[in-house]
């Protein structure tokens, strides 16, 4: 540690000051904070829908909400959580904040477009959520035609337009990242010295720019069919609703990897840090991100095993689905190998790493069940599917996001949060999550279909367990919100490198200055050079001079 902690320069948070300066900022770090605030709001909204769903499912009778309202609740829960929380979560918050810093750049390549992407996101979200007062949305987040394009009596057109607009925000984020990584790396920052977080976000950006436009045009076609009678999927005039499913899943399956790949990037950073060891098999982990992004585009048909797709096509999709497990397993094994004989530190990031690895493992392996054609016929549209994708997207995605948020919080805000509370909440989230969703595997296996507000009484015990777990999970999330907010005002000031981590971002002061670097750094080391990393230092020492030489 040098004595950068002693004299602090004005950070990006303070200068320039004022609301207008924040709303018109071109600083990638401030835009990341804007995203963080907005996705937190949408997470709370989506969680509210989920809470109502779980409350309804405590009893077998549909007694809390009507079937119609229930349809709207799970639809909006899915739409909000996927499009407005999960997809932007890690890329737009942590990626936006750290990709330029990690590669030694002063900003993303297109700062104005970066700000534009946030405004597009907010506008799209407001339009989509306006359906709450204009009749709701009951198509499920998948907008399946012809129900969405002809039958539904809810405000599908507005929601489709909102999702269409929001899509451009992801496209612009992805395109900014790709150009930035190609053109803005500091001297000496070669591709194979990039932190794995950057690789993972690069792979995610490929999906953003290749997949998102397809779903954008698809929902636009649905809106045109509803609003302008331009029948594309309407079976009454000879249209093919299955074509909608093909186009939709061509994006929406890769979108799952949008939600998990950046999380894998975060975990790669964290796992090297908590093991205090160079990551095992760097290039394998890097290329497995690209492999997941590419193979992810070739498996969409596994969502359609029971929708009149050719059985031979199904067979091919099933085999390719198994292939995705290979790069995912490469990552998991490499993380485990990194921890093996590492010097494990028991700081709060470790808890998120372990939580992620456990939950992602269960989620990933049950994905293989569903990718098997014969088994999927039995499990299709049951709670088994619900449990599976929540293990990936919440157990994997949200846990990784929270892990990353905890790891980078001192750098982003310049404040330390309470370590004991962080560990408690990580465990609450882990146990609450498992209690919520593990029973759903059993429910699905026993045949309980998803998307119904009432169910046979023999499923009640498991449903009550699930709702109880959701309360624990919610408490965990709420606790995080409380102590992170508290740390902003009362938390101790963070040193430059509290975790003793490697990487350019930890050589800057916490929080960084507006332009990140006074002079563009020259990189001479591999990533994760933990042999030469400083020791963790969770608080600023009383007299910094004493620790400079160890």
């Amino acid at each position: 540690m040098n004595d950068a902690t002693v004299h602090q320069e004005p950070s990006y948070l303070g200068a320039p000051y004022g609301l207008a300066a924040w709303l018109l900022t071109k600083d990638h770090k401030r835009i990341a904070i804007l995203y963080l605030i907005s996705i937190t709001i949408f997470f709370a909204i989506g969680a509210g829908f989920a809470a109502t769903i779980r409350a309804e499912l405590v009893t077998p009778q549909g007694d809390l909400v009507t079937a119609d309202l229930y349809n709207k609740l799970f639809t909006l829960h899915g739409v909000v959580m996927i499009f407005f929380f999960l997809i932007p979560s890690i890329p737009a918050v942590l990626g936006n904040f750290f990709i330029p810093i990690m590669i030694g750049a002063k900003d993303l390549a297109f700062p104005r477009i970066n700000l534009l992407s946030w405004y597009i996101y907010v506008i799209g979200a407001v339009i989509t959520l306006s359906v709450v007062i204009s009749g709701g949305l009951d198509t499920g987040w998948t907008f399946y035609a012809p129900f969405s394009s002809i039958s539904s009596n809810t405000d599908v057109t507005t929601a489709a337009v909102g999702v269409f607009i929001t899509g451009f925000s992801s496209i612009l984020t992805g395109f900014n990242f790709i150009v930035t990584v190609h053109r803005m790396r500091a001297p000496g920052m070669t591709w194979f010295r990039l932190p794995l977080f950057v690789w993972a976000n690069y792979a995610t950006s490929l999906i953003f720019i290749l997949g998102t436009p397809v779903v954008a045009i698809t929902v636009l076609l649905v809106a045109a069919e509803r609003g302008l009678h331009l029948g594309i999927f309407d079976p009454r005039i000879g249209g093919d609703p299955v074509l909608f499913q093909h186009l939709f899943w061509f994006y929406s399956h890769p979108a799952v990897y949008i939600m998990i790949l950046p999380g894998m990037g975060v975990i790669s950073e964290l796992v090297a840090n908590v093991s205090r060891k160079q990551i095992f098999g760097y290039s394998f982990v890097a290329f497995s991100s690209i492999a997941i992004a590419i193979i992810g585009f070739l498996v969409w048909g596994h969502h359609m095993f029971v929708s009149s797709q050719s059985i031979y096509a199904g067979l091919v999709f099933s085999i390719i689905t198994m292939l995705v497990a290979v790069p995912s397993a490469v990552k998991t094994f490499n993380w485990t190998a990194t921890m093996y004989r590492g010097s494990i530190t028991w700081d709060s990031p470790l808890f998120w790493v372990l939580g992620f690895m456990g939950l992602f493992l269960v989620g990933g392996l049950t994905g293989l069940f569903l990718g098997t054609m014969g088994l999927d016929v039995h499990l299709h549209d049951t709670y088994f599917v619900v449990a599976h994708f929540h293990y990936i997207m919440v157990g994997g995605g949200v846990t990784a996001f929270l892990g990353g948020l905890h790891f980078y919080w001192p750098k982003m805000t310049g404040r330390m949060y309470s370590e004991p509370l962080a560990k408690v909440s990580a465990m609450l989230v882990f146990f609450g999550f498992n209690l919520t969703f593990f029973p759903q595997f059993i429910l699905g296996y026993m045949g309980m279909p998803r998307r119904y507000h009432a169910y046979p009484p023999e499923f009640q015990v498991l449903n009550v367990m699930s709702t109880g777990g959701a309360m624990v999970l919610g408490t965990g999330y709420f606790l995080i919100l409380i102590y992170l907010l508290y740390s902003l005002f009362k938390g101790p000031k963070a040193p430059a490198n509290p975790w003793g981590a490697t990487g350019l971002e930890w050589q800057l002061q916490s929080p960084p200055i507006t332009h990140n670097f006074h002079e563009i750094p020259v990189v001479t080391e591999e990533a994760y050079d933990y042999l030469h990393a400083p020791a963790p230092q969770l608080a600023i020492p009383a007299s910094p001079r004493e620790v400079t030489h160890e």
Partner: protein
């Protein structure tokens, strides 16, 4: 990655997060190319639908294709190819710092873009008059698949026309910048990037014209 040493006095158009004009130009061009990849996928979804339905309803597709006015479509193709030429000349004029060349060629590009839209307007108008617009007023005597053809026709050409309008707005901005002597051999990034976009929109039409107006007219 190029790493040219920054000159003593940075160019006034150099944004602070880039270290050289060269890096700035490279980033902007790469950015436009990446964006065009996105655009390809955007139109790709509709081309996919076209492919599927063409296979399902080959006869209706030929019938519907006969309802389109290939002369007007051909005229528009010529107009757009001409506009691509004037666009390329405008970029060259910007690189050479020739103000007059930029103004003339950019104005011609805008004009040709407008001509395209006017012709398109009359084509659309004819479709309304002949009851070829999908929906309740679609001519019920026509074959079933034809309604899907026209749905796709309006979506594809409509989205293309929207891109044309965006392009024309973009060119107007570039034109006003050119009039204020913004571009020279050192800084012509906006013209170059807008030019890439314009050529892309032209190329989409080069695919749309044969697919919608020509294919199968004389066969099947």
């Amino acid at each position: 990655m190029s790493n040219a040493a920054p000159t003593a006095k940075p160019h006034p158009k150099l944004q602070p997060h880039f270290h050289s004009m060269e890096q700035q130009l490279e980033a902007s061009t790469l950015g436009m190319w990446v964006f065009l990849v996105t655009e390809v996928m955007f139109f790709g979804g509709m081309f996919m639908a076209y492919l599927v339905y063409r296979n399902m309803y080959p006869h209706a597709w030929v019938e519907a294709s006969h309802e389109l006015n290939w002369q007007l479509g051909g005229l528009n193709t010529m107009v757009l190819i001409m506009s691509s030429l004037t666009m390329a000349l405008a970029v060259r004029a910007a690189m050479l710092g020739q103000k007059r060349g930029q103004l003339v060629n950019l104005s011609l590009t805008i004009l040709l873009g407008c001509v395209f839209l006017v012709v398109k307007f009359f084509e659309y108008k004819a479709k309304f008059e002949h009851h070829l617009v999908p929906g309740p007023h679609f001519d019920p005597t026509l074959e079933q698949g034809m309604q899907i053809f026209f749905s796709l026709y309006f979506m594809l050409t409509g989205v293309h026309a929207a891109h044309m309008i965006i392009g024309i707005v973009m060119m107007t901005i570039i034109l006003t910048m050119a009039a204020r002597d913004s571009f020279n051999a050192e800084y012509y990034t906006p013209v170059e990037v807008a030019g890439l976009y314009w050529h892309f929109v032209d190329i989409v039409w080069i695919f749309l014209f044969p697919l919608l107006y020509l294919l199968g007219r004389h066969g099947a």
